[in-house]
Symmetry: C2
Subunit: 103 residues, 2 copies
């Protein structure tokens, strides 16, 4: 049920920008904050949410913390989406038929 927080995590524009920046290139908090129009603590708070959502993870390196991409969040997200291409197909086709055969 990680996808519950995953949508919320990627909903915010700046937080999604931080996520995409991490995906492009593992970086420290200060480096990430440099490219964003918000303060460093704001980026830190966004990263906390992204970690809880399983989208990024931190690897301490001295006083710095390099944030890298975490696939677990993306995987659960993909699994959630796949649901609507498989499970729902039956009910969907059934409804289409119900509508077309309506007197």
């Amino acid at each position: 049920m990680t996808y519950v927080n995953t949508f919320t995590a990627l909903a915010d524009p700046t937080r999604r920008a931080v996520f995409e920046a991490v995906a492009r290139q593992p970086q420290s908090v200060a480096e990430l904050a440099r490219d964003q129009p918000v303060s460093r603590p704001a980026v830190s708070q966004h990263l906390k949410v992204l970690v809880e959502a399983g989208l990024v993870k931190a690897t301490p390196q001295g006083t710095r913390r390099i944030y890298t991409l975490d696939r677990t969040g993306l995987t659960s997200l993909r699994n959630y989406l796949d649901q609507f291409w498989t499970d729902t197909l039956g009910a969907y086709a059934a409804e289409v038929h119900r509508q077309s055969t309506k007197h």
Copy 2:
């Protein structure tokens, strides 16, 4: 760039519940509201957001409006996610190598 609103649309719990209910079974607004702990106008507002995100679409049927699943939102969402399994792989592998070969 539909995915920008798609995350926001699926972030809210009740709105995601409405979306899943529509995916399971195309329904009218009143029917959807019956299963939700919020009022009918609230469901109507949620549906508006879902329509704008390309996740559901309405087909008028008398005074009623039957909401059905729309794949366009899900497709753009899937395309966005696929980005992190392809484009990023190079930079990700490069960083892993950089970390492991660090003196």
